[in-house]
């Protein structure tokens, strides 16, 4: 064995095993395991498409299919008249798919990996966060495909508002991580959480203006009664709107329907308004994330017994 340099006892990191770890200690432990997080994500990605001919491109098949179907239904059959509708659809789906993939995979991850949870000690939050990492990898792949599509179509994004995208992305990641971490722990104690989440996510999708336009359908209906804010309680709505605003680039367009009327597809808020909304969501996301880590910390002490 190579005689590696050993630190004196006094200088070694101290690890405390106790039922009561502070939030700071938990966060420090998670930070300390960031390399493990990277390995888990790369292992996930490698395993998923190992030995398949198309490899990682398979990750595109499912979102591409849903986009194709929604396009067919809303544009071709229902004739919503939105020009370059596929860009709008894809932009919203990009944000939604990231969110829903994280929630769906994170919920079951602790139970699914019970083998290591029972045998190896590491911050268990890392398992939930690894699903965030994996989903993010696929998010960027889909993002690149969208960028290529937009280049081919000659559809320009709103360049001056591009900076909103990272902010919105951060809010989305924080919210999804918070829900993911919490649900992964809850599922250990209530095994039907996973089923509830599946149904919940399905409903949530239709409450989020991804395939239909917020401005053309929801806003006039609820806005007349002064209730538009209700729709914005759904934290994913402002994020999806931001993605669409930045990537689709326009708020008012000329419809492709025979009457060529002018339609407003997205709310005509200023960039600052979007920034404020997203900033608020980042703050909420951060608070929820810390809360989820706290709850997770309280529940994880018994994981090895409950599994």
């Amino acid at each position: 064995m190579s005689p590696s340099a050993r630190r004196p006892v006094e200088q070694r990191p101290v690890r405390v095993v106790s039922a009561h770890l502070s939030l700071r200690q938990r966060l420090a432990a998670i930070w300390g395991a960031r390399e493990l997080l990277a390995y888990l994500v790369s292992a996930d990605v490698k395993i998923k498409y190992k030995g398949s001919f198309l490899g990682i491109m398979w990750s595109m098949v499912s979102p591409a299919m849903s986009i194709a179907i929604y396009f067919l239904v809303f544009q071709v059959i229902l004739k919503n008249g939105v020009p370059d509708y596929v860009v709008m659809l894809w932009a919203g789906m990009l944000a939604w798919t990231l969110f829903s993939t994280i929630i769906n995979t994170a919920t079951g991850i602790i139970v699914q990996r019970s083998g290591i949870v029972k045998k190896v000690a590491f911050p268990r939050e890392i398992l939930a966060l690894s699903t965030v990492g994996t989903a993010t990898v696929y998010f960027f792949l889909q993002f690149i495909v969208l960028a290529i599509l937009m280049a081919v179509m000659g559809h320009a994004p709103a360049w001056s508002e591009l900076w909103l995208l990272p902010l919105s992305f951060l809010a989305l990641l924080l919210l999804a991580s918070a829900f993911g971490v919490f649900l992964s722990a809850a599922n250990v104690y209530f095994r039907d959480t996973a089923h509830l989440v599946e149904v919940g996510i399905f409903l949530w999708f239709w409450l989020t203006p991804v395939v239909y336009s917020y401005q053309r359908t929801v806003a006039p209906m609820l806005g007349a009664k002064g209730l538009a804010w209700i729709y914005l309680i759904n934290p994913i709505t402002p994020i999806v709107l931001t993605f669409q605003r930045v990537l689709y680039g326009q708020t008012s367009v000329t419809a492709t329907t025979p009457d060529h009327s002018a339609i407003t597809v997205l709310p005509e808020w200023s960039a600052l308004h979007y920034a404020a909304l997203n900033g608020l969501l980042v703050a909420i996301g951060l608070a929820l994330f810390f809360w989820a880590i706290r709850i997770f910390g309280r529940l994880q002490g018994n994981f090895a017994e409950e599994l």
Binding site: V9, V16, A19, G32, L36, A121, F190, D192, T193
Partner: protein, 382 residues
């Protein structure tokens, strides 16, 4: 001396459910807590391990030793109390536990090493060593799902020990692989010791603890009943073992308490000569007549088991009351040295210990010839 592992007033309680309501639906249909009974597995356990010590944790099945180890590794959290570990700790609770079957051996080395808390840089520097130790050079890029269970375990052990943590926790995993690999593992453990690293070894094998550990703690029903030198601790362990086995003897109808009172050499001393007969007397008291068998153990100064006699070869029947047994070693094939002697009386099938005395005497062997070593070989050269 600064302690590396500090276990302070640790308590662990499990909740046992007759019927577990595992889903939200069940909880709604059956409100209330369910019928849980609490089971305290560890109670007020405190001890500390100093730098460079090798500590054995002895205990019968169900004494809480694995739970204690899991708490030290951080897989379980104690219900009360606290454990402080200084430096990196690698726990060998199960070898290759974090392996992903679809990934190559190489990827799994990195994955499981980082699960043990190692940085990528450190793994890079010891990677070749890990592969060499596991003897899997040819297969390191093969997915581990194609590995045999022996290969799997070898790679797992190699990762954990080559990681060279400050503290190594071993839970009965040394009984893996073929004999040659086991020997290699033991070598590595001894090297670990000579490097001055700290080891916690859980075992119910008293011989292993005696030969590897400087100190040992004994757990009995979740309580720490001894924290002493390995020999002392083994003694306590054996005595507790028979303390709890008495009830078993009762249930089989053999209602007899057997106690070994003392031993005495026939010549007055406990000195024997090589290749000669050695005789000693022992006084045994039994509360009722019982059938048994006599066992004798000898240990050398390093704590290695030199001999344990076959119980089935020396049956005895004890009558109620005090009696003197005459024990003779017909021919003692040992060269000079002092040997710790343990004697015991077990049930005829050898399964139950009726009475046991640890380190009851030291047998000194005198040898006048020129041979060297431990065993007296008698050659016949033509």
């Amino acid at each position: 001396m600064t302690s590396v592992v500090d276990v302070a007033n640790v308590e662990k309680t499990f909740k046992l459910y007759k019927q577990r309501h595992k889903s939200l639906k069940d909880r709604v249909l059956h409100p209330g807590k369910g019928n849980a009974t609490e089971l305290t597995v560890l109670q007020d356990v405190s001890f500390s391990v100093g730098e460079g010590e090798t500590i054995g944790v002895l205990g019968r099945n169900g004494s809480g030793k694995s739970t204690l180890l899991k708490c030290i590794c951080g897989v379980l959290q104690p219900t009360a109390g606290q454990i402080t570990v200084r430096g990196d700790l690698a726990g060998l609770l199960e070898l290759g536990a974090g392996f992903q079957p679809e990934l190559s051996g190489r990827d799994n080395v990195y994955l499981s090493a980082s699960m043990l808390g190692l940085s990528r840089r450190k793994v890079d520097s010891v990677f070749d060593e890990i592969v060499a130790f596991s003897e899997l050079e040819k297969f390191i890029d093969t997915p581990v799902k194609f590995f045999s269970s022996g290969m799997y375990v070898r790679l797992g052990f190699a990762v954990a020990v080559t990681a060279a943590p400050d503290v190594l926790v071993v839970d009965e995993v040394l009984a893996v692989g073929d004999e040659r690999f086991q020997a290699k593992c033991m070598d590595r453990i001894r090297q670990f010791q000579s490097d001055g690293r700290t080891i916690l070894l859980v075992s119910h094998n008293a011989d292993q603890v005696r030969s590897l550990c400087s100190r040992a703690v004994v757990l009995e029903k979740g309580r720490l009943v001894a924290d002493a030198s390995a020999g002392e601790a083994v003694k306590v362990f054996r005595e507790h073992l028979l303390g709890t086995q008495e009830s078993k003897a009762t249930s089989t109808g053999e209602d007899s308490d057997v106690v070994i009172e003392w031993v005495r050499g026939v010549s007055g001393s406990f000195t024997a000569r090589t290749n000669e007969r050695f005789e000693f007397l022992t006084n045994v008291r039994a509360s009722a007549p019982v059938e048994g068998a006599f066992v004798l153990e000898l240990y050398d100064q390093a704590g290695r088991l030199v001999a344990r006699t076959d119980a089935t070869k020396s049956p005895i029947s004890l009558s109620a009351g005090m009696q003197e047994l005459n024990v003779a070693i017909e021919e003692l094939p040992l060269l000079d040295g002092a040997y710790q002697m343990n004697i015991g009386i077990v049930s005829p099938d050898g399964d139950t210990v009726l009475a046991w005395r640890e380190q009851i005497a030291v047998l000194e062997v005198a040898y006048v010839g020129r041979g060297a070593g431990q065993v007296a070989l008698r050659l016949n050269v033509h």
